[in-house]
Symmetry: C2
């Protein structure tokens, strides 16, 4: 497939230009751009540049705020409740994450919960901020992410939704005319189905584990756990009150939970044990000899290495065309001319 | 099936007698008995009276310690590292849980990690202690449990292993000659299989989600997350170093993690929102009209209600016979004469 290679710096600058053009503060635009670029570098294109216009629209329509900064409403040595003031999700996320890390430095744990937040890109981005400070992070919206530092820059980074797959995977099978595996989705009556059409027309995704027989109630419980720590604890929207995806008729008021854990407060040698644990997993005999056993975060690390070697992020040409047309509409300079086509 | 009905108080006393007979301190024996009785009341017979002899044996052989109490090794306002001193798991569990709750009362969060611990019965028992203090608890060994209080004594109590099912379920299908559902276990080469024999002879259980196609890597990641918070953070045994189940050739040195979260440190109205969330779930149209939608903890609540109405816990007569023979061997009074047979 032909892809157009764009440097990270150019993508970063482009997103900042677009956001600034509609009135975002420069440092807010930078925060958002960083999360989106990180999403693309890690290979999660669904959470990268591809979503930029959604954030621009949220600012244009006033459904997201541009003025002010997040505010701490309630605080102890280890906790904080933050009002995100309806700012862009990454602005709220970075604020909460920094606060959690600062508290964990003092008392070992920082548990920060935000309401009044918005969509914030890949959850793993925030969890990984703690790695730089050699801390464990865990966090959830409905996804759940945890990052734990090992030796020499190695790490464990889990970033996962509590559904079996993303809706996009069901759509892809539908377009190809393929059935979906048992355990991805259900029909409008809640029965597990292998027909992607039934999932897409009134049915839905199911929690990790699929049906009751294959442990779907465990995934359901884990999804509820995330809801308790985010929407419920924060006093934000939760469950059926959460705004439908991309229906921006009202502010989102999302709840998010950020936890930093300082290994220094527990047994010495944490990083060494993490490295050993990762080695034990990676050194296991794979079920399929062609696919070595990986740890959470490994596929993304490989993708980032590939981007680094190529000197940029490979995008489908249609994404770049769409973004450049969009840029023109809001009076912003286009992404650097796309003459670096590569085949991946 | 004919069952023998024994009062909770009698089971509690019987377990205490047996433990005391081999040298456990009375309050340690009581702690263990309470967890096992709670397991049975909640319908989890695999974690109740049925396991009593395992704990007795651990004390008889000296593989578990009877002297001393758990010790705090390192502490901050919000955290503690505890040496369980190789005491019975419930002794360590209760110590850590109480410490976590005390810290959460002060600073909103208590995050307590133990090494030198032993098997501690159902994880949910500890998570539920926090409910009495109107706190959220989350905890893991390799299971993961979280309890969150709603209004009027209602609650959400998730207590789940990160494998799809327990090994006992595979054994049951094998004995019946039935295949197992796709996604429960794998053969010795790591391939998902529906043949229980292959799982039991060199194969193994798989994480929630089953194969890669059905999201098994998510369950794998969640299992690793629990490992990070328990074995790794505590400096206890982890991964392949954990002693094989029931092979008591050396002390267990298990790691466990206990977290208490005080909703008062976050947005007001937590209990009301929890009740609303539970109602939303329970009021949904069920996929099967005969099976209403439940929340985590509901099946156990129903089982406890049934025990209360019957005035005791129904045990299979063979379990009672086995226990009474065992009691005789260690010179302990038997369980009350089993003349209360009921049909369940």
């Amino acid at each position: 497939m032909n892809r157009c290679l764009i440097s990270q710096m150019e993508v970063q600058g482009f997103i900042e230009r677009c956001l600034a053009a509609v009135g975002a503060k420069p440092h807010h635009a930078r925060s958002l751009a960083e999360v989106l670029v990180e999403g693309d570098c890690r290979g999660h294109y669904s959470h990268g540049l591809n979503r930029m216009d959604m954030y621009v629209k949220d600012i244009q329509t006033g459904i997201c705020a541009v003025d002010g900064e997040p505010v701490v409403e309630k605080e102890s040595a280890a906790t904080a409740l933050v009002d995100g003031k309806n700012l862009l999700g990454p602005v709220v996320g970075n604020f909460c994450m920094n606060l959690a890390i600062a508290k964990a430095k003092e008392v070992g744990i920082g548990w920060v919960v935000a309401h009044g937040s918005n969509h914030f890109g890949i959850a793993g981005y925030y969890a990984m901020q703690a790695l730089k400070e050699n801390m464990i992070r865990t966090l959830g919206t409905n996804p759940l992410s945890i990052a734990a530092p090992a030796k020499d820059g190695d790490s464990f980074v889990l970033d996962t939704a509590t559904s079996t797959v993303a809706l996009g995977k069901v759509e892809l099978n539908d377009r190809r005319g393929d059935p979906i595996p048992d355990g991805w989705g259900c029909d409008p009556h809640g029965k597990i189905t292998t027909d992607p059409k039934r999932v897409l027309t009134g049915g839905g995704l199911v929690p990790i584990g699929g049906s009751e027989a294959t442990g779907g109630y465990k995934g359901y419980g884990l999804g509820m756990m995330v809801e308790v720590f985010c929407g419920i604890l924060a006093g934000a929207q939760y469950s059926k009150y959460v705004r439908t995806w991309k229906v921006t008729d009202r502010v989102a008021n999302l709840g998010q939970c950020f936890v930093a854990v300082n290994p220094d407060n527990f047994a010495p040698g944490f990083n060494e044990r993490m490295s050993d644990l990762l080695s034990i997993q990676r050194d296991q005999n794979p079920a399929d000899p062609g696919s070595p056993v990986l740890a959470a975060g490994d596929p993304e690390r490989m993708n980032m290495k590939k981007c680094e070697e190529m000197g940029g992020i490979p995008y489908h040409i249609n994404v770049i065309k769409y973004m450049n047309e969009y840029a023109q509409k809001i009076g912003v300079n286009q992404l650097l001319p796309c003459d670096k086509m590569i085949s991946v």
